[in-house]
């Protein structure tokens, strides 16, 4: 289950990445990331698979406050929330009309993975030994992450992050899982350094 939560944490990274991604180098990324105090956004996730004729659409919202508080929330079709106030991550799912804590083993694994996120949030994208990162400038900035170890073998071929260079707004994130499966996430209504009520990182409802 650790790998499952890695996916979620990549998603967190994608939201934080673009605001410094217009930088010409990963070194510049690290410097710019220091200015991010909060991020909030809405997202639409499209899942493509061979078994699906049309993508399965999920919608949600995301909140982050430095150094390590976040809320990643799916509103539909399956309501679920991962919240972490100061690094203590919990996952909640809708059951019988109310949110209940997911007590599967994955939550413990998620805490371990969170230590990796601290690196990402510091802009150290090219220092994660699990991925080889490359940055390409064009009409849009394209960041590509390719797994180098066995941890992601058979799960992720590569991750492509496309960012509009003019607006610095993230356009799309594509997680390519193989020949017939991909996850595409589009972010909207992104707001940086706007005050976020701390209760969002503690309370589920």
């Amino acid at each position: 289950m650790k790998r499952e939560y890695l996916i979620l944490l990549f998603l967190l990274m994608f939201v934080l990445l673009p605001y410094s991604a217009f930088a010409e180098s990963f070194e510049q990324l690290r410097l710019d990331s220091a200015n991010i105090k909060t991020v909030q956004a809405r997202f639409v996730q499209k899942k493509q698979m061979k078994i699906l004729a049309k993508p399965l659409i999920a919608e949600g919202r995301f909140f982050y406050a430095a150094p390590n508080s976040f809320r990643w929330e799916y509103l539909k079709p399956l309501r679920s929330i991962v919240i972490s106030g100061n690094g203590d991550a919990k996952r909640f799912i809708m059951s019988g009309g109310k949110m209940v804590e997911d007590k599967s083993g994955g939550v413990q694994a998620m805490r371990i993975v969170l230590s990796e996120v601290v690196n990402w949030m510091s802009g150290r994208f090219d220092r994660n030994p699990s991925f080889k990162a490359s940055l390409k400038e064009g009409t849009n900035t394209l960041i590509t992450l390719v797994p180098v170890g066995q941890n992601m073998a058979g799960m992720i071929d590569k991750i492509e992050i496309s960012i509009a260079r003019k607006t610095m707004a993230i356009k799309s994130v594509k997680i390519i899982e193989g020949q017939n499966a991909a996850t595409i996430i589009d972010f909207t209504d992104v707001e940086i350094n706007k005050a976020i009520n701390p209760s969002l990182f503690q309370d589920v409802e």
Partner: protein, 228 residues
Amino acid sequence: MKGIRLLILTAFLLVSCQTLPAINPILPQNQPKSAVCSSPFLKEPYRLVHAIEARIGGEIQGAIIGITLVDPSTRFVSCAIMTAEGMVLFEAEAKPALKVIRALPPFDSGDFTKNMIEDIKLIFLAPEGEIKTKGILSDGSEICRWQEKSGAWIDVIARLPEGIEINKYSVYGNWQRLVKLGMTSENIYSSIELSAKEALNYSLNLTLIEAEPLEGELKTEKSKGSEE
């Protein structure tokens, strides 16, 4: 002392093993509303996407999304399980030979694939076999009892107006599965409850996200299947 132990063991077995319920014959004055058996099964190829809540020993384990593609004419089944985050945990198909496309822990263990395909067939496909008995249960519900080619027994019970129940029993009549289909919604697969007796008993609550017929799409799958 030995006799008491035997008595306790026998009592325990009687309590713990549910067996095929007795079926009363249909009397002329108690004719069922319909002469045909309830058939909650798919009549045409369908793709169904459900939110699935899984419980083991009554404790919730997590919620996942299940995608099922079923063709009743060929009994072709394709299925996938993924997290809300879009992570595919499991993917397999039966053409009818089982083929696992992806299985991450804990979905890579033991007979998981076989059991899952069997559960899907139990819910969506009419039993492969023949109706052996029709009648009335002690509570007045109408029942049709099938025996599958494998020898297993399947009871389809109309518990109207609440819904339809499907019970599966082994060749020896030991209860293995219960499926409850609600009748409150337009689509009979809107709300599905499945209870299973295994080494670790589990239950699944499925809530329909979307359903669509897919005749044209499966023609490709059929031709691929016949080539293999």
